[in-house]
């Protein structure tokens, strides 16, 4: 039966075997010179042979503190060390050390710690350079696997963002004409009012109601009515600028916000062009059909403090005046124009 090994009994091990178990060990002699090194550490410190070199010439201790003599190094036994190569890639290591008995020097074991990927690249290491028990290769594997998964996640995020933006556009768009819808109008009007209230720039609000649209619907059917609405949308897009808002807010009702447009004459000119566009003959399934439009307009500068409801209501009142004056025209709201609700005629048609 073998004797029990006591904690302080020496273990005799060939340097090559030690290198196989700990490919990054260093044996430092009492004179501070490296007596032996594990094969991976020798490769990393190469090309000059590391055996015989002074440990502190080749390595710089950074934590827990620097050391100038072997005795100072030896006092760090049991502590977690950080050190780096003094030359070349200045590869960092972590390590710990034990003092060998009978004044035989110090045994240090090193690893690359968290900067392992750089070390592997800088020194062209392979999995054969690591002990089978070392999880370094697994760490590298995991880094790459996680990168692949992160790429997939990023792609997923892109797709979700695109889907969300499409859904948002859809929620703000009238499906038939592609114009803004009521919700988009409310948002645009709020923005325009805010800009006007800050004194940045005023805007015109136009309320358009189609004339003779009901006859088209009744005579040619709803498909023809839809066709006409799409044509109307084209006219409105043509006659407005890119940053104007054109919204379809009812069956044949539209509201336009024209930022920066505060001159009565120019507003009238825009309205006339729109009405002329609407009155151009349209071809409905082979049969000509005619519509027109009435417009009521108001300008933000008419108000001490512009208000969405007041402006919409005033534009509506002006629209009503256009209808009463014989349709196919534009009326600009002026104070005192407001007509009592109960006296209004049905303006549809």
């Amino acid at each position: 039966m073998m004797d029990r090994v006591r904690p302080h009994d020496p273990v005799v091990l060939a340097a090559a075997d030690l290198g196989r178990l700990m490919p990054m060990f260093l044996w430092i002699a009492p004179d501070g010179r490296i007596r032996a090194a594990g094969p991976t550490l020798a490769k990393v410190c190469g090309p000059e042979p590391i055996e015989g070199a002074r440990f502190l010439d080749r390595f710089e201790l950074t934590r827990p503190r620097s050391a100038a003599t072997v005795e100072e190094v030896r006092r760090l036994a049991g502590q977690r060390l950080q050190l780096r190569l003094r030359h070349g890639a200045r590869t960092p290591f972590r390590g710990h050390l034990v003092g060998l008995g009978d004044d035989r020097g110090i045994l240090v074991n090193l690893s690359f710690g968290i900067a392992v990927a750089e070390a592997v690249r800088d020194h062209r290491l392979t999995s054969a350079d690591f002990a089978p028990t070392d999880l370094t290769v697994e760490l590298l594997y995991l880094t790459e696997a996680k990168a692949a998964v992160t790429d997939e996640l990023a792609a997923l995020n892109c797709r979700l963002r695109a889907a969300r933006s499409a859904a948002e556009t859809q929620a703000m768009t009238d499906a038939l004409t592609g114009l803004a819808n009521r919700r988009a109008l409310d948002a645009a009007l709020a923005r325009a009012i805010e800009a006007a209230a800050c004194g940045r720039r005023g805007f015109a609000l136009l309320h358009l109601d189609l004339d003779l649209f009901k006859q088209v619907n009744d005579t040619f059917g709803h498909a023809a009515g839809d066709f006409v609405l799409v044509r109307v949308a084209e006219v409105l897009r043509t006659e407005t600028r890119k940053h104007d808002t054109v919204a379809r807010v009812g069956g044949d009702e539209f509201v336009l916000i024209l930022p920066g447009q505060v001159d009565a004459g120019r507003i009238d000119a825009v309205a006339r062009r729109i009405i002329a566009g609407l009155e151009a003959p349209m071809d409905c399934a082979g049969r000509p059909c005619h519509i027109s439009g009435s417009i009521g307009a108001t300008i933000s500068s008419h108000y001490a403090v512009p208000d969405a409801d007041a402006m919409l209501s005033d534009a509506d009142a002006a629209l009503y005046a256009s209808k009463r004056l014989g349709r196919g025209r534009c009326t600009l709201f002026i104070s005192g124009m407001h007509l009592p609700e109960d006296k209004r005629e049905p303006r549809r048609g």
């Binding site: 392979t126 594997y141 790459e144 696997a145 998964v149």
Partner: protein, 193 residues
């Protein structure tokens, strides 16, 4: 089945046979042609429907299709690299296969591969057993093993074996571990990625 598996099949069909074939398969299987999300979980029946539709459209037996899928996967550089982490030589790689399901779970916690066990059955002869989850993994691994032999430069005969119950086997006869040069593999990721 995990979305990554389904997405692998989708990308394989799309890259190998063209977007038209994939669109047809997706319609046959009742799927959105947009395809699968890699990080979602799907019912196993969906995977079956896709494979059946692809077999019909391509007039290919299931095993051949799945073997080609395995070969295709090794052709994807990130995956090839992950597999090469298995070892320095093809033989090391074979012996690392037992660990593969755990390695995969380390990266994607809810991706469950079948249990893999490599048995030595003679000099340079092995049998890889895939147990559990869905049938078909045996054929996929036959493709992977074949493509990885090329990657390592090893000469090996890979034969999909018979299915017994839930276990599928692949026979491996390693004729020459260092038959050809094989493809490069650096532990460090090339910087150009």
């Amino acid at each position: 089945m995990h979305g990554l598996v389904n997405r692998s099949i989708e990308c394989f069909l799309r890259d190998t046979y063209g977007p038209g074939i994939w669109a047809g398969v997706a319609v046959d299987a009742g799927l959105d042609p947009q395809g699968f999300e890699a990080l979602e979980l799907y019912d196993d029946a969906v995977t079956d429907a896709v494979l059946s539709a692809a077999m019909r459209r391509l007039d290919k037996p299931r095993e051949a299709l799945l073997e080609d899928l395995g070969i295709y996967l090794v052709g994807l550089e990130p995956l090839r690299r992950l597999l090469r982490f298995g070892g320095e030589s093809y033989e090391d790689f074979l012996h690392s296969l037992d660990e593969l399901p755990d390695r995969v779970r380390l990266a994607v916690a809810d991706l469950h591969l079948p249990e893999l066990a490599l048995e030595g059955i003679g000099p340079s002869r092995y049998r890889l057993c895939c147990a559990g989850t869905q049938p078909g993994f045996g054929a996929v691994f036959a493709g992977i093993l074949r493509a990885m032999a090329d990657d390592y430069g090893a000469l090996a005969l890979i034969e999909p074996g018979e299915v017994s119950g839930e276990v599928e086997t692949v026979g491996i006869e390693l004729l020459d571990s260092f038959f050809a040069a094989g493809r490069d593999f650096d532990l460090a990721l090339p910087e150009t990625r």
